[in-house]
Symmetry: C2
Subunit: 344 residues, 2 copies
């Protein structure tokens, strides 16, 4: 897939090109793309940022934008975002605001970014007050997900992506959950063709939801937040350390499926199926020891989606179906979380 | 007009409100608005920034965004931008990217912002590499131009706004130029009703051009850049000091009208009418002594709108009509600028 990037870029007839990536990814995957573009007569402005969530800041965006300007990048140009979710969000935001809007393409190199983050057009950076508080909606011209780049991805990061892929199955298509479980060994062995099928189906599901509600207004897109109300609170409580995003969402999905079941919004087997599937992939399903239910509920209430002390969650109705539920009493959530800490 | 702001805000049913302004404007005009909102049960988060172009930076936007977050401002909220062009551009940019897009209203307090900057939805901040290099398109929900706020505006800043108003006449409506010249004394005496008519007609003309080509793609909106190719180069050469924006544009309009006349694109009387009208308002029509034609042409070539060493300009065809012309030879521009420095 990476070999197709240069051709696709040339086809868009950009005035200028920029590649935004991490230093190591530049050496591994970026150089061949830059060289192929050079052969086609297009010189790319290369901008590298350090790996890690700290690069997803306004300060970092400012440095990227300044390097784009000094490299002569134009508003008619195309930015290539080569990396995981941080690079995609940062480079996409830079594209959204450079000269009031350039274009970009995603080349995601983690499973999480391939199945989820690179699709949907949400781009942005963090503030100290919270993640993704600054940003824009900008659809990439194209997404090039090459599952061969996953060969070097640590197993824990592979499972991190599986968590979001399973989520798409839980909320949209029960059969996809089954397929993921049946092909677990080949996924964990990084079989490129099995991974390619997994990524393709996951992206197709997410793209359909996004197409229905691009700007996140009707509640349809909000279904993608299954596991994220609790998951975000866990991440914030841990200072975005210790757990990866997909791991926090994994615990969050178990918690939220139990909330749904307790409220009678879904049958009892739903939280069981969710939990078993995540455990099959060795994803965490219990609260980390130091996190108290009180602290988590407080963080959920401070979240941008809260209204009047009540909570909002995307809750399952069945395996393969979900809906946004507003006005949830914190008490039910508190009880479920208490139960999940005792199990830990 | 200021008395109508609170009611208009309440009518939009925002979750939260923020007011972004300078400390002095907060005391003069902001407090009554904040108090009126408080009476209606809406508490505004007030964010102040120092006056001056330096506040139009990404660092400044970052501070504003952090204060919005800590003040509990929400994506369903409305930002009020109270001030001149810097405040409008900065607050509008903050609105465009906060939680991927909040809404805003403009309350321009300079003539330049009332006749020009507050209309059209171009918002953004500067980079060290150049002005307005980072930004977005976001139309304000409403613009409240109260000409009574101009009572405290220094005369030089009043004329600064007249330059852009005259520009609208030069490119769109010759009769408006005549009306501005006939009412010069009352404009300079800050007659609020004459100013209100001037602002209303100027805004109506600009809004029509913007509606035709909101994203600046067809060349129609680019007509608003009359005087700005040369004007921006003059501002950059002076390090954005000494001349106000409208003053640099005034010199730029004389230069560009002469370029058009020399190329046979407009009759000879056009540059004469342009120059005489600007002089009537004591606006500068000759190059500042230290600026060389060579330096200015170099800066124009480095501008984001250049293609292959040739220049683009919005040039008059008649008084009241203009068009975007691309591929201009720098030589003609150099000759005109040389002539204008000898006159100085």
């Amino acid at each position: 897939v990476l070999r197709e990037v240069a051709g696709a870029v040339v086809g868009r007839e950009p005035d200028t090109i920029a590649l935004i990536t991490h230093p190591r990814l530049l050496a591994w995957y970026g150089r061949p793309v830059v060289d192929a573009l050079a052969s086609a007569g297009l010189k790319a402005t290369v901008v590298t940022v350090p790996p890690g969530e700290r690069s997803k800041s306004l300060a970092s965006a400012g440095r990227v934008l300044a390097e784009l300007a000094s490299g002569g990048f134009t508003r008619g140009g195309v930015i290539l975002a080569l990396g995981g979710g941080v690079i995609g969000d940062l480079a996409g935001f830079a594209a959204a605001v450079y000269h009031r809007g350039a274009r970009f393409m995603q080349i995601p190199t983690t499973l999480l970014a391939q199945v989820d983050a690179s699709v949907g057009g949400k781009v942005g950076v963090d503030l100290k007050a919270g993640k993704n508080l600054v940003g824009a909606f900008l659809q990439p011209l194209a997404v090039f997900a090459d599952t061969e780049t996953l060969a070097t991805l640590p197993r824990r990061h592979l499972r991190n992506g599986v968590a979001e892929a399973l989520k798409h199955g839980f909320i949209l298509r029960a059969g996809f959950v089954d397929r993921l479980l049946q092909s677990r060994r080949r996924v964990e062995a990084r079989d490129a063709s099995v991974l390619a099928e997994l990524v393709a189906e996951s992206v197709e599901m997410k793209a359909q939801v996004v197409a229905e509600d691009e700007r996140d207004l009707s509640g349809s897109r909000a279904r993608l937040n299954f596991g994220h109300t609790v998951g975000h609170a866990i991440e914030a409580a841990l200072g975005y350390r210790k757990l990866l995003h997909g791991e926090a969402v994994s615990i969050g999905m178990v918690a939220e499926a139990r909330v749904a079941s307790r409220l009678g919004l879904c049958p009892r087997h739903v939280p069981e199926v969710v939990e078993r599937a995540l455990e099959e992939y060795s994803l965490p399903v219990t609260l980390p020891p130091d996190l108290g239910p009180e602290q988590l509920v407080r963080l959920m209430r401070a979240d941008k989606k809260t209204e009047g002390g009540k909570l909002s969650m995307a809750l399952p109705r069945e395996v393969g179906s979900a809906e946004l539920v507003k006005g949830l009493e914190p008490d039910v959530v508190r009880q479920v979380l208490r139960e999940m800490s005792r199990h830990a």
